[in-house]
Symmetry: C2
Subunit: 206 residues, 2 copies
DNA sequence: GCCCGTATGTTAACAGCGTTAAGTTAGTGA
DNA sequence: TCACTAACTTAACGCTGTTAACATACGGGC
């Protein structure tokens, strides 16, 4: 009587096929250039079939970003588990975040650069443990370590974390959207951003 | 024989009327929620009329952003002309930039957060003196002053400017797209970002 | 063994979008 | 008066995300 199981398996399989097709187009062309019809073409189903597996386009592409950002979480967790100077650890984590964003510009854009906040939707913000926010948590824990060890002049870990996030998000998103700007050099400005932010926390702003 | 002139005047008038209508919708709903047809409705012309005055939607909304960002340039130029400690001047400029972005989220988004870089289009990047870039120039000049007066450990003014830009862009864009995030406080994190970046430049990264 | 209900997928359509080609109208200059 | 041009409109193309209505096939209960 494994019929139910076979069906469920097939269903999972098609769901994954949709995800794969969508992901491929998404990586190549980005959110606004992937249409439900193009995805459907690729898997040789009708466009409406997709709606049996995903509520709408946003949810579909959100799933893709979720998968991808999980990899960032893994990378960060490996770094954070290592011993040694928390400041060096923090810097490596920040660089990893930035590099991840540059490797996955469309995912990064969809996750962190897309909508202007519509009305507050508790549904969405009740789950702050999305992989994106998980990445933020890794950083926050590392900042706690730095403060605990007296490395920072600033004592408010939350404030310090948010400040750092601003910095790394800034350079990541600018390099994504303004790749043609006459940067002094991608690596150079990435490194400078990280070094400057951390130095600022060490020295204490004001 | 002032007919030509009257016609030209009327033409300018309608152009401005389009800009005003578009701007109003734009401020309210943002780029992707303003349609040519909605603009046309508002001024009681047919949608195609707009194309007699603007090449396409992008150019129309670019004009709007241009106008708005000119105001930022003005604000910044007033600040930069004042005497006194260049670091204080710089900080005031950075804060002004951020506040401007938060006051005009849709303009800011369209100008600095929108496209993934398509193929290099020299047409667009031959004019780096757009108001957006003008704002950047103000900051750069101020950074030069700081370095000239030996206030910064970092000596590369271009690198320092780009690093600062990353920081202020980061907090501006995050507050725009993630207004619901549990920030420790908007003003607080803005101030912290500016202070931390500047302190980092003063102390010298590494 | 038949029938019903459900799961799965399709077709057709709606309402919108940016944009273009073709057509209309009014008014000026010759 | 005629021809030309500038200003504007109508109609259409080819997209978009999404929904409602319809088709089909298949397993469970009688």
């Amino acid at each position: 009587m494994g019929v139910r199981e076979r069906r469920a398996r097939e269903k999972r399989y098609l769901r994954q096929e949709i995800l794969d097709a969508a992901s491929e187009l998404f990586v190549k062309d980005g959110f606004e250039n992937v249409s439900m019809r193009r995805i459907a073409d690729r898997i040789e189903y009708s466009p409406t079939t997709i709606y049996l597996y995903f509520k709408d386009k946003a949810e579909l592409l959100e799933s893709i970003c979720y998968e991808t950002f999980s990899k960032l979480s893994q990378r960060l967790s490996r770094i954070m588990d290592q011993p040694g100077d928390p400041i060096e650890r923090l810097k490596r984590g920040l660089i990893t975040y930035i590099e991840f964003g540059l490797e996955n510009p469309h995912h990064y854009r969809s996750t962190f650069m897309m909508p202007i906040p519509e009305e507050f939707d508790p549904e969405k913000y009740a789950k702050p443990d999305s992989p994106g926010m998980q990445a933020f948590d890794f950083m926050r824990r590392c900042v706690y370590d730095c403060i605990a060890q007296g490395k920072f002049k600033i004592k408010d870990a939350e404030l310090a974390s948010q400040t750092l996030w601003a910095g790394i998000h800034g350079i990541t998103s600018l390099l994504i959207t303004h790749g043609h700007f006459p940067w002094v050099g991608r690596e150079k400005v990435v490194q400078s951003t990280v070094d400057t932010m951390v130095a600022g926390l060490v020295a204490g702003g004001k």
